[in-house]
């Protein structure tokens, strides 16, 4: 079975380490915050100027001056700090954020990522995504493996305008956990019940498959 959105978030959360400063993009990455493993503490960075993002407010706590990068009302965690946008991107560009999780339309075997524009269709802008992929060393891209029509999103060459060049090393899809190195995709893990053949079929770029591909493990 392909992973649900929550399961994708859950698998990403297994990569969190105690003391990590983490930037979560909009969409599935946001859900990662719900699955922080017991016994570890992470601090969430929101690029509009908040380090230490807390959960959504209750109706009584809502404050128009306190939002996240998705423009949602949020709260602050204990030990949070507030800063301006230049400072926020100094953190990001300067490589101070330990893990960045973000979505994409396409990735390719050279670690290129396209995530912000579909010419003629969707022109909303890159927001902070270009800074995030350029500044972070440790990035996990989350996305569905293929489109609804079965077109692979893991390509030899991205077809859409790039968000960043040669910056992606890890991709978690609804079918597989994949590493990108030496100009190839490498299959690390597969979703429970998903066959290697299915993953191979839906991966357009060159995919290296080791003899043994473990299933992802989820604690329930």
């Amino acid at each position: 079975m392909a992973l649900t959105r929550d399961q994708i978030a859950q698998r990403v959360a297994q990569e969190l380490r105690d003391g990590y400063y983490v930037n979560l993009g909009i969409g599935i990455p946001t859900l990662v915050a719900n699955f922080v493993p017991e016994g570890i503490e992470v601090m969430l960075q929101s690029e509009n100027g908040l380090l230490g993002m807390g959960p959504f407010p209750t109706e009584e706590e809502i404050d128009a001056d306190l939002i996240n990068a998705g423009k949602q009302t949020v709260t602050m965690a204990t030990g949070a700090s507030i800063f301006d946008s230049a400072e926020s991107f100094a953190m990001i560009r300067g490589g101070h954020v330990d893990l960045t999780v973000l979505g994409a339309f396409e990735v390719d075997v050279n670690g290129n990522i396209a995530s912000y524009m579909i010419p003629g269709k969707l022109i909303k802008g890159m927001g902070g995504a270009m800074d995030l992929v350029a500044g972070a060393d440790n990035i996990i891209v989350t996305m569905t493996h293929a489109s609804k029509h079965g077109d692979s999103k893991l390509l030899s060459n991205c077809s859409l305008p790039l968000t960043g060049k040669g910056c992606i090393k890890l991709v978690l899809t609804d079918l597989a956990f994949i590493e990108i190195k030496e100009g190839k995709f490498h299959l690390l893990e597969r979703a429970p019940g998903v066959s290697v053949e299915e993953i191979v079929k839906l991966t357009a770029g060159e995919l290296v498959v080791p003899d043994n591909v473990p299933e992802m493990i989820f604690e329930s």
Partner: protein, 241 residues
Amino acid sequence: MSGFDKVVTSYQEAMAGLEDNMTIIAGGFGLCGIPENLIAEIKRKKTIGLTVVSNNCGVDDFGLGVLLPNRQIKKIVASYVGENAEFERQMMAGELEVELTPQGTLAEKMRAGGAGIPAFYTATGVGTPVAEGKDQRQFKGRDYILEEAITGDFAIVKAWKADRYGNLVFRQTARNFNPMAATAGKITVVEVEEIVEPGELNPDEIHTPGIYVNRLIQGTFEKRIEQRTVRPSKTTATVGE
């Protein structure tokens, strides 16, 4: 009256001197921390041909979006413009020039503009459409592109509190682009929720010194919320989307 007193008493006075075809730098992220009454005054003045530099362009009926129906904006420099139907229509029809700029680069362009730095190198955007036509150079084996600073004829800023000398304090994430915008205007106009006497703010806790501020006005604010997300009271906290 002290020569450092920046307070004006009408929005008309606050935006006096704004003319057609000028460049305006605006603070705010989404609808958070936007100078909403200064924007309304620009709409009232019917100034046209404006170049606006702002992270976003508001929504259809609030924020910078209110300047779109009368075609007051000629060009916008922004990182994300996806919340606005009229904006999309004008952009697709070629009526509005849009320069998409990465968010961190946009913040740094304002900061550099206000700090007298004409340009800077950044890795953001290398190998993407943003790099087209820009000087590219290697430092320690990595590619960077040259991005130019931005300054404006006007900067419009929203802060929380100020003293009469224009020393500013921002509140929570309504700070965002406002401190950089404040430094990058030939004329910087700030609207705040409360003005106090000089000496009442703790100098250690001032975010933007008054030297950057030319005019200061106290206003009342709608503070519209774009995405009202809540959790139920008294249950386990979760983050959704």
